[in-house]
Each structure stands twice: as structure tokens, then as C-alpha cells.
């Protein structure tokens, strides 16, 4: 299976691999491509990060941790002597593969990203002028992640050190802050405009990811 740069079929196979739906031969080819192409590697990481965030707040870790960990692991692996070649897995787990119906779930980066933003794009802050944090993805992938938010959610930072998960100086979110915000909004009736307007307002804008 020739890997010719960064085409759609390569990404589609990588997507299937992420879902555990690729047959062993294609997996090998995909992993080779993944190993060689930094862009594919960035996609791979971004898709998993998106998946993690969708599954749980607690998995929504700062992408820097992943990056540092991966870099250190790669360096350590490089230094390790090769002891043996792994045996083929084909016989043991072959039956798990090849569920083509769900293939391509992660290929449409835009669509995936849209879901991502709709679930999590709420209350977060940017650190303008901060040193660029981990590149969780190529710029255009990060762009796709933020694109459905229409505008890059401008925020004026007033003082130092906001807590935020930031990719390419664009906002992802802060799950903890959302919960405070949600708790705050439950008292919308405290305002004179309370019922209905403040209640309708807070009920229309969903800020908690559940």
C-alpha cells in the first residue's frame, strides 16, 4: 500500500486505525506513514485529544503534557537496544478488525471539530503573548477546531496567569470554570430582570458539558 504524502485515503486509513477498524496489513502501513509524517502525527494526536475531551473533563489535559511525554518516550526508545521482533498479531486479534461501517468517523476534521466545539466551547480564557503552547495539531487542524466558533472568542485578560487550555493561542476551554459559571447562573432570579429574561438567557446558553 503506497503512502504518497498526505492524501485523503491516508487520513481515512489513519482514522480507521484510530477507531480500531483497520486490518493488520493496513495498520502496519498506516503506522509507518504515521511514523514518518509529522502532519499525520499531529492529526493522530488531535483526534485522540478531541476524543478524550468528548469523553471526560478529567481527560482534557494540557496538550503540553502529552507532547513532552511523547518526546521523552521517543528519545528513550531511541536509546534502547532492540531485543526481539514482535510476533504477528494477525491470528489473535484479526476478527476484531474490519468493521467498515464505522470507517471514516474521524476523517472529516471539520465535522468532528464542530461537534467538539459545540460540546466544549464555552468559558475559557486566552493568555495573549504567552509563549506558544504545544502544537496539538497543524495550524489548519487547530483552525478547523475553532472555526465553528465563528470568531475566536475574544477575551480581555485583566491580570496574570489565567487557567486555560490553549492551543495556538486559541481557546479550548476550562471545564472547572464552567461549573462555577453554571452554579452562578442558577441564581439568575436574583436580578430584577430575573424571571423570565435572566432565566431564559441562562437556559438558552448551555455552559455545562454533561
Amino acid at each position: 500500500m503506497p503512502i504518497s504524502g498526505f492524501d485523503d485515503s491516508t487520513r481515512e486509513r489513519l482514522s480507521a486505525l484510530a477507531d480500531g477498524e483497520l486490518d493488520p496489513a493496513a495498520s502496519t502501513a498506516s503506522c509507518a506513514a504515521w511514523g514518518q509524517d509529522p502532519q499525520l502525527r499531529a492529526d493522530w494526536h488531535a483526534w485522540h485529544l478531541i476524543g478524550d475531551v468528548l469523553r471526560s473533563d478529567d481527560l482534557a489535559a494540557d496538550p503540553r503534557h502529552d507532547r513532552t511525554f511523547s518526546a521523552r518516550l521517543a528519545a528513550r526508545l531511541k536509546a534502547e537496544p532492540v531485543v526481539l521482533a514482535p510476533a504477528s498479531l494477525a491470528g489473535a486479534v484479526g476478527s476484531r478488525f474490519e468493521r467498515p461501517s464505522r470507517r471514516g468517523r474521524w476523517t472529516a476534521a471539520g465535522a468532528v471539530a464542530a461537534g467538539f466545539v459545540l460540546v466544549v466551547g464555552t468559558f475559557a480564557v486566552v493568555r495573549p503573548g504567552d509563549s506558544p503552547p504545544a502544537q496539538i495539531a497543524r495550524d489548519d487542524v487547530a483552525g478547523a477546531i475553532m472555526a465553528p466558533a465563528v470568531a475566536p472568542a475574544p477575551v480581555t485578560e485583566v491580570s496574570a496567569q489565567p487557567v486555560a487550555i490553549v492551543a495556538d493561542n486559541k481557546i479550548i476551554r476550562d471545564a472547572q470554570l464552567e461549573r462555577y459559571l453554571e452554579a452562578h447562573k442558577q441564581f439568575a432570579g436574583t436580578s430584577a430582570l430575573g424571571v423570565p429574561s435572566a432565566f431564559l438567557r441562562s437556559a438558552t446558553v448551555d455552559s455545562a458539558a454533561r
Binding site: F123, T156, F199
Partner: protein
């Protein structure tokens, strides 16, 4: 849906960082309405929502982001019913019967049931004429405009100091129903808009459609946030001074982590939430034990009409959220005092 309205709040970061309360008075050219008239306006807006049956599309927007919902409101004597269906993003439905609010996320089969006692507390304050709103805000009638197909009276409410935002309200001339509201920043910039894009007032009430949905919870994981009333002093805290115009309205002890996502670290310690209101806007002060894993960095930011401040206070972590300028939160943060170890 989840998108919040984001708008740049053009604040001088230097001024606020130095802790100087920005005292930019908003200059009002036209003569202001008398306090009693302002109260009458607000009461009329408030009453309209509990006396009329209406249905429409409600849109909250700012900074290029929009969240919209389909809303139906019914009255049946003293009973209030509401059905709110989000039109953007993840499916979510909110049902209200008086103080009981059900929020349902059909996709992950989660239903949250809340008892929101605060929903009806304010009018008493207004009726008693004890609200003090006129001390901190100035109201002007600004003629009429057409909103969502209805002729509306326009009301401009401006803050008398830099510790709160202004508002512009459009109330239906016939019913008094609030059709559109804007939160206005210190420089006249619009921080957030919420408005009906279309609304029909005077529809036939169908409260049973709301009640039947509220009874249909089988198959859902039901989450019931528990709020235990308390007092700041009883918890070992006090506020040396309040931001001018604000008074305490409520204090509860509660869990802040969404149920089921504690991540195996056991039940998180309860958080104290103390709420202060100036009559039009309000501030929440959250206090909880400091946990290094969760409370890494102090934070101070403004997004749209909402400001947030988080910082450590000895062995405690304090988060203050208010629909106010950031300077207001600083006053609360500085006044908070631990009375017992």
C-alpha cells in the same frame, strides 16, 4: 447549546491591575426617570412574564457567537410553566414548573432536577420599594421601536458608577413582556444581547404538555444538585465590606463538580456559594478548601458581560463570578476575611 456569547470587554488592564475602581460616570443627557417610575417599569416587565402565554424563538448573542432556543411559556393561575428547547448544538430541553427546573440531555440520557427557590424572590424587594436600584442606576425612556414584530418601549438603564454595567430594554407596549435586552459596557459597547427573534403573545396555554414531559424520566440518569442553606459567618467567614449597592441575598453549601465526574477521587469537599445583588445584577463568591491539583493558578478575566476572579486565600480557594465589571469582584475579594482557622 454550549456556545457562550463572547465579546471583547475593552477594559484598561492597567487600571484594574492597580486595583483602582474605575469610576467613569456615565453622562446622561436627558432627564432621568423618578425611582418610583423605574420600579413601575421593572415590575411591569416582571409581571408580564407571569401573566401572559407566549411562544417564540429566543436568541442570545455577542462577539459573533449565537445560541438560540425555542421557548413556550404558560400561566395557569399562580402556576408558571416553561419549555425551552435548544436549537443549536447538542440537544437539550429545559422544563420549568414554578421553582422546579428539569434540564434534559437526551443524547446521554441525563436529567438534572433542580429546586430554584430564588426564582421568585425578587419582586417582594421591588414591591417593598426597598430595592435601592435607583441609587445605583438611572433610567430613561427612549421612545419606541419595533422588535420581533411588536411595538416596544425602549428603556435605557445606566450605571451611576463603574461597578456595574448598563442595560437597554425593549418591552412590548401592549403586554409589557421583555422582548430584547442588551448589557452595555462602560464605554457604551454592547457586551451581550438576548432577544426574541419572533414571538406570539397570547397563545392558548398548554401546561399539560410541560408536565407530561417532566414526568417522563424513565431511562434517564437523574442528577439532583443539593443546596444546603448556610451563612457565611457560620462557615467561619465574613465580608468586611460589600461593593457599594450590593447586599447579601443567599448563601448555600453545595457540590460544584458535576455528578459522576469526580474521576474516582472521592466526593469533593462542599463549596460555599454566597450571592450578592444590587437589584439588577449579582455576584457569586465561591469558597472551598485549596487543592493543589485543581487550583493551580490565580485567574482574572472578563468574557462578554461576565467577569471571573480566582485566587488562593490561605488554605482556601476563592472564585468570584459576577455579571459586573472586574473591579467589582476585586472589592469582594479584598473584603473576604477568615474569622476562624
Amino acid at each position: 447549546m454550549l456556545l457562550r456569547a463572547f465579546v471583547v470587554l475593552a477594559l484598561s488592564s492597567a487600571a484594574v491591575a492597580q486595583g483602582a475602581p474605575a469610576c467613569s460616570q456615565i453622562v446622561v443627557a436627558a432627564s432621568a426617570t423618578a425611582p418610583s417610575e423605574m420600579r413601575a417599569w421593572l415590575l411591569r416587565i416582571h409581571d408580564a412574564a407571569s401573566r401572559h402565554n407566549f411562544q417564540g424563538t429566543f436568541v442570545v448573542s455577542g462577539g459573533g457567537n449565537v445560541a438560540s432556543a425555542r421557548i413556550a411559556h404558560f400561566c395557569d393561575g399562580p402556576n408558571q410553566y416553561e419549555r425551552i428547547e435548544s436549537l443549536d448544538g447538542r440537544q437539550r430541553r429545559v422544563y420549568r414548573h414554578n421553582d422546579v427546573v428539569h434540564t434534559i440531555w437526551p443524547a446521554n440520557h441525563v436529567a438534572m432536577i433542580e429546586q430554584r427557590g430564588m426564582l421568585s424572590s425578587f419582586p417582594a424587594l421591588l414591591q417593598a420599594g426597598d430595592d435601592g436600584i435607583a441609587d445605583w442606576y438611572e433610567v430613561r425612556a427612549e421612545g419606541s421601536e419595533r422588535v420581533a414584530g411588536h411595538e416596544a418601549n425602549v428603556l435605557a438603564i445606566s450605571a451611576r458608577d463603574g461597578l456595574r454595567y448598563g442595560y437597554r430594554l425593549w418591552a412590548d407596549r401592549a403586554s409589557g413582556l421583555l422582548l430584547r435586552a442588551e448589557v452595555v459596557g462602560e464605554r457604551g459597547d454592547i457586551l451581550e444581547t438576548s432577544a426574541f427573534s419572533d414571538v406570539v403573545i397570547g397563545i392558548r396555554p398548554q401546561p399539560e404538555t410541560v408536565l407530561s414531559e417532566m414526568r417522563r424520566l424513565e431511562g434517564y440518569r437523574v442528577v439532583r444538585p443539593v443546596l444546603t442553606p448556610t451563612r457565611l459567618e457560620a462557615e467561619g467567614w465574613s465580608m468586611r465590606q460589600l461593593a457599594p449597592g450590593f447586599r447579601p441575598v443567599s448563601c448555600v453549601s453545595r457540590q460544584i463538580d458535576a455528578a459522576g465526574d469526580a474521576g474516582g477521587e472521592g466526593a469533593a469537599p462542599p463549596v460555599i456559594q454566597s450571592i450578592y445583588s444590587d437589584g439588577l445584577t449579582y455576584v457569586s463568591v465561591f469558597i472551598e478548601p485549596f487543592r493543589a491539583a485543581r487550583h493551580a493558578k490565580p485567574m482574572f478575566a472578563s468574557i462578554g458581560a461576565t467577569s471571573t476572579l480566582s485566587q488562593r486565600h490561605g488554605d482556601w480557594w476563592v472564585t468570584i463570578i459576577g455579571d459586573t465589571p472586574p473591579a467589582t469582584l476585586k472589592i469582594f475579594a479584598a473584603a473576604l476575611e477568615r474569622r476562624k482557622p
